[in-house]
């Protein structure tokens, strides 16, 4: 991590501070019961970061097990279709388990072993983090319980099946909106009782300190590779970097290594859902305000009493009322521009990538693809737009068929 103070942007890469603050955002708002485990995790991560054998072991896994580095692919036909800047795809969809989530779960599984914890729990929305956690736990022989909202179990059925095949127990969550937010609540409740012998592998850059730091660092392999690959393949840094933002882990990993490259425009794309009306979208950075949810202070969709609002996205991985605190910091410092993309436009991005390039993106990543196409169309042919293609769309095939069927029938 660079500790050089930046004079090219107000956003520093030297965050968070020791209390987990990214500017005003982040911190730790959890029951006292969890404090000791969070302190242990912070200490163990600090030791691991400085330990060459930990880094070597993780690098070996990322290379030979995950298949890193993931390719940087020039989407020429898609670029021609848009008629502007060149679109480049960072192919996290080609990772083992089909998304960027495995970068984090392997790192945290190694931390689990270092801390001597015997059991792993996780939450999942789209199921990609659940599959990646189940995979890491199978690889290291750790028992694994994944909490998943029953609405997400319905719309991401292939991933539920995969998790079970990998030996994980999937526990349906029936409370609240039965989506990612409720799965995080249940995982935290499990951890309240099991914290002595269990590690919670949180899947995004959300939650109490040190999770936003740890997950960002493990995901930063995306941006570090992409930055290097851009210099080699494009000959310079990209004009613009685009990533989708739910909790924001792929975007944090993609953006972080570019934070001090002031000439690179960074664009985060939230789920615009059906409309900008409350309850119709999942875009706290676009429409919410700072507040407390799931252990940290960040932008959130809340009512005037501080109750978390229901949100909507067709994409289970983005269907979340909060966002990682570092994104709130990047928003308020102006370093990253946050925008949103509605369900229908994301579906067009999905179709375009499928037809022009033969790639089925995840519904989450389709939001970034659609916004990248829009931005590319406005720019010159010598400019470049780098997109984090965070996951593949096989898991979504049935849900997409259902959504298209609904669309055709006008319901």
């Amino acid at each position: 991590m660079s500790t050089t103070p930046s004079d090219i942007s107000r956003a520093s890469a030297s965050v968070p501070d020791s209390s987990g603050r990214f500017g005003d955002f982040g911190g730790r708002y959890v029951p006292e019961t969890l404090t000791r485990a969070l302190d242990e995790l912070t200490a163990e991560y600090g030791k691991a970061e400085a330990d060459p054998t930990f880094q070597a072991e993780l690098d070996e896994l990322l290379h030979n097990y995950v298949g890193r580095p993931s390719p940087l692919y020039h989407a020429q036909r898609l670029s021609e279709e848009c008629g502007g800047a060149q679109i480049w795809l960072k192919r996290e969809d080609l990772n083992h388990t089909g998304a960027h989530k495995i970068n984090n779960t392997l790192g945290q599984a190694l931390l689990t072993l270092r801390m001597g914890k015997k059991r792993v729990i996780a939450e999942t929305g789209a199921g990609q983090h659940g599959v990646a956690t189940a995979t890491a736990c199978a690889r290291f022989g750790l028992p694994c319980v994944v909490y998943m909202g029953s609405e997400d179990i319905r719309r991401q059925a292939p991933n539920v099946f995969s998790m079970k095949l990998l030996g994980a127990e999937v526990r349906p969550v029936e409370s609240g909106s039965r989506t990612l937010r409720d799965a995080i609540n249940e995982a935290l409740r499990d951890w309240m009782s099991s914290v002595g012998d269990t590690h919670y592998i949180l899947g995004s850059v959300v939650g109490p300190h040190p999770f936003p730091l740890i997950v960002r660092d493990f995901q930063s392999v995306i941006g570090s590779e992409a930055r290097e690959q851009s210099l080699q393949r494009i000959g310079r840094l990209p004009t613009t970097v685009v990533a989708c933002v739910g909790g924001g882990s792929n975007a944090a990993g993609m953006f972080y290594p570019f934070i001090e490259d002031a000439e690179v425009e960074l664009v985060g794309v939230e789920a615009g859902g059906r409309s900008s009306q409350p309850g119709d979208h999942a875009s706290p950075l676009s429409f919410g305000q700072p507040g407390v949810l799931h252990g940290s202070y960040s932008y959130v969709m809340q009512d005037e009493d501080g109750q978390t609002c229901d949100v909507h996205s067709m994409s289970a991985g983005l269907d979340y009322p909060g966002v990682g605190p570092e994104h709130s910091y990047w928003k308020d410092t102006g370093r990253v521009t946050y925008t949103n993309c509605q369900d229908g436009d994301a579906m067009k991005g999905f179709d375009a990538l499928a037809r022009c390039e033969g790639i089925l993106p995840a519904l989450e990543s389709s939001h970034a693809v659609a916004k990248a196409m829009e931005l590319a169309a406005q720019r010159g042919k010598d400019e470049s737009v780098l997109v984090c293609l965070s996951g593949r769309g096989d898991k979504d095939a049935n849900e997409i068929a259902r959504l298209k069927d609904e669309g055709e029938r006008g319901t």
Partner: protein, 266 residues
Amino acid sequence: MSVIDQLFNDLRTRNEKAFMPFITAGDPDLDFAATVIRELATRGCHMCEVGIPYSDPIADGPVIQASYTRALDKKTKLAQILKMLGELPTEITMPRVTMVSYAIVYRHGIERYVAEAKAAGVAGAIVPDLLVEEAADMAEVCRREDFSLIQLVTPTTPRERAVRIAESSTGFLYYVSVTGITGERTQLPPELIDNVGWLREQTPLPICIGFGVSQPEHVKLLSPVADGLIVGSAIVRRIAEASERPRENVLREVGEYAATLLEALK
């Protein structure tokens, strides 16, 4: 000196312990909450914890979660809860404290929350997701307003940290009996009595034990080491029946249950 300090001073002088039931504001509705508070006071309960329903309560087990959900489904708002508390008859001298998530306090504004709660006759707040490290702003406002900010120590809290928490807590110190979420338990951890005994030697602050406490045997076991006992889920579970059964029956059963535990405290 706050009313909570006064309460524990009086109890310690008489060598008595406090019984502190918890209820959810708004389940099944706020009128019944006011009725239950009156009943609990009449039975001789020493303090009442009023749970402000929250959409994402991670320290709470299924019983309290479900009651919060029902209260929120009925669109129970903070302003209405404070209004109900503010309109309680003055002859109810039993102190009330709110159990409230920091998500709610922050959104409402710390100063405004403390001022409005105080104006509604509330003596303090337990904010279960506000750790001692993050509590400075709220602690400052509470100190200024003589509004107790009751902090929690748990079985996972290292001892030096427990001392630090005790030093910054006001009113009393909430000792969480178990590593886990709220809910009735048949067995409490065997090390509980030693842990609370140790803590008593570190702080002059009254120590009250909650989480899992629900049976007269628990009360008998714990009252020698504690200044007070907090019972939540066992009360909330009984009150929850008021949506399906005659309210006067439910009210009587809640009162009788409280009386049983009060008797065990003697």
